[in-house]
Symmetry: C2
Subunit: 362 residues, 2 copies
């Protein structure tokens, strides 16, 4: 297989032409990783139809050579990345209009463009690289599948260790150790281990709360391999489930499966969201599903597209999205079931293979 | 003790007056947490001498009530935080000039200020909240000390488990589980577990590399309690250390101790950096210490002040800073020793209590 960076560069250069810019300053680190392979936390990338220039700092001298090779002209700048950028730009053949990423440049740095970069005309661009990233190639899909394998194997190793009286943090520790043992390179977001009434907090983190028998236990966590993420959620009951817990769980389960089986490339994000939302509303729980159905996933755990009531755009073929309906009753508890789904040309392919049955633990 | 948020608000309002703004839009999440107690990932805060307005979304409805109480007027906005902000601002008594955080507002959102917020005059501000955060109060210091306790106890639990043939990721998993078991609420940054030649990469992450006998093993990791961080590094040898490993280790150890014992509030960040750098240069390793000596620490793992060759500012009394000299020989290995130090009125107080002796593991 040819170097995917080469294909991405060609597609991006087409985008530059369409955006009427002579070059693009890329400041988003995931975009830089996508385009060059560099995975560090400090870099500026500059692209023209003829040049690929990457500026980083001392800490990454060895790493950048390994990751980028001769795909880009690499400069290690001892003082400031911006100093290095201005020096490099000054050496290029004359440029007129330069694009920058409006969603990733801070006002402070925008001021730098206008001041130190005052000899060029700066034009805001939106999603030039993100649009490319939305359609995953076979290599990217394989990595997201591998990350899902890490996540589900880690979950399978963790659940038998869980029992009442453990703290949420102890469960998080067991889960994160299993993720590392399975090879996860990182945690794409802070693990949520939320028990009992705290499971009703859609963005709870993990606390010293001790799990009680009869509690819901919601685990929302990620895995990462070569920069690509998985993002999954399962909700269990510690001990024996009450009928009301089973009822709400079942509504969420059906909403998840309906959406995951019926979502299609070409559909709007709103229509995808509605598959799950309409069902939850029919069952009388619409007020308790306050967030959106899902989001794209790849080098970032939240990226394009959105599956939400306010998402007018069509879902791209080749996108990977989360399907994560939930029902949250404040003070009582909540249920969310989340899988990652690839939008193939022929329909959805569910990448998260882990049971949807309600598990009773301990 | 009075509510620290009230003291911070009074100090910030003084800052608004000095900056000639009638109100301040706060978009930095750590700044929002510092001022209101809200720890979620989605919020906008607006402050005037009379008003504290916090806009968040559905996911945080329960959490925000618990964390913020009646300290702010809280709005839960179903569509977009910005929609909620404009509605709230429209209801206030007339405002003329509004400050925003230049280092935290993206160009995209700056455009919103100029367009949807066009009836107000927007003025960039720099570090209004960060300057307050630099001086830790007794409660904050206690939390950073507690986070250091978590980190050092976790390290002490982990090192006896380490042996040759483990992967870096397995060591990271054991360390992170110990951090959770000790109560760490999160990982303020991706744990670095770097072995052998990879210890020469100052910002390595952890990989599937198997540790070999004779390797350096560098662990750089954090702990977090109530949002406050610790950030520490220790470098060990797996097996028996070679004389050259001992020699380089000893240079780093003395550089660390010189700097930690001599750093003072009032000194410039450059002079602090020079304490360690001059010693490493004298010993002939200056070219191999490419990064800066340290950085402030608190609600963020990197905050003001900087201890670096380019840092002209005086270190504030009450700051907590890292002291982290290192020597990195590409292809061979590296050593870093990092402690967190409080700059008290009477001199430095080292918050990280863990041996500096070279530990031989396994």
């Amino acid at each position: 297989m040819s170097d995917p960076r080469q294909r991405r560069l060609v597609a991006l250069v087409d985008g530059l032409t369409a955006a009427h810019v002579d070059g693009l300053l890329v400041t988003s680190l995931p975009n830089i990783r996508y385009l060059t392979g560099f995975s560090g936390s400090s870099a500026l990338l500059f692209i023209t139809p003829r040049d690929v220039i990457l500026v980083s700092d001392f800490r990454y001298q060895t790493q950048i050579a390994e990751e980028v090779g001769d795909f880009a002209r690499v400069t290690i700048e001892p003082q400031s990345l911006w100093t290095g950028l201005w020096q490099q730009l000054g050496q290029l053949s004359p440029l007129d209009v330069i694009g920058f990423e409006s969603a990733h440049v801070l006002h402070r740095d925008f001021q730098r463009l206008l001041e130190a970069g005052g000899r060029w005309q700066w034009r805001p661009t939106v999603d030039l690289v993100e649009t490319l990233r939305e359609r995953k190639d076979a290599g990217e899909l394989a990595l997201i599948e591998a990350a899902n394998g890490i996540a589900t194997r880690a979950l399978a190793r963790t659940l038998p260790q869980v029992h009442a009286h453990m703290t949420e943090l102890e469960v998080a520790g067991a889960l994160e150790k299993a993720l590392r043992d399975e090879g996860s390179e990182g945690f794409p977001f802070p693990s949520i281990v939320a028990s009992g009434p705290r499971s009703a907090l859609p963005h709870a983190r993990s606390t010293t709360r001790r799990i009680e028998s009869g509690d819901f236990l919601l685990l929302d966590f990620g895995a990462e391999t070569q920069g690509y993420c998985a993002d999954i959620t399962r909700t269990c009951v510690v001990g024996v489930a009450e009928p009301e817990q089973r009822e709400i769980y079942e509504v969420v389960r059906v909403a998840n499966e309906n959406a995951a089986n019926r979502v299609r490339a070409g559909m709007t994000g709103r229509d995808a969201d509605a598959i799950a939302r309409d069902y939850i509303e029919q069952r009388g729980y619409g007020d308790l599903f306050g967030h959106s159905l899902g989001h794209g996933l790849g080098l970032e755990v939240h990226e394009a597209p959105r599956l939400a009531r306010t998402a007018d755009g069509a879902l791209a073929e080749g996108a990977v999205v989360t399907i994560e309906p939930g029902i949250y009753r404040p003070g009582w508890g909540g249920v969310r079931i989340e899988d990652d789904v690839f939008l193939s040309p022929t329909g959805p392919k569910i990448l998260t293979t882990f049971t949807h049955e309600l598990i009773e633990l301990g």
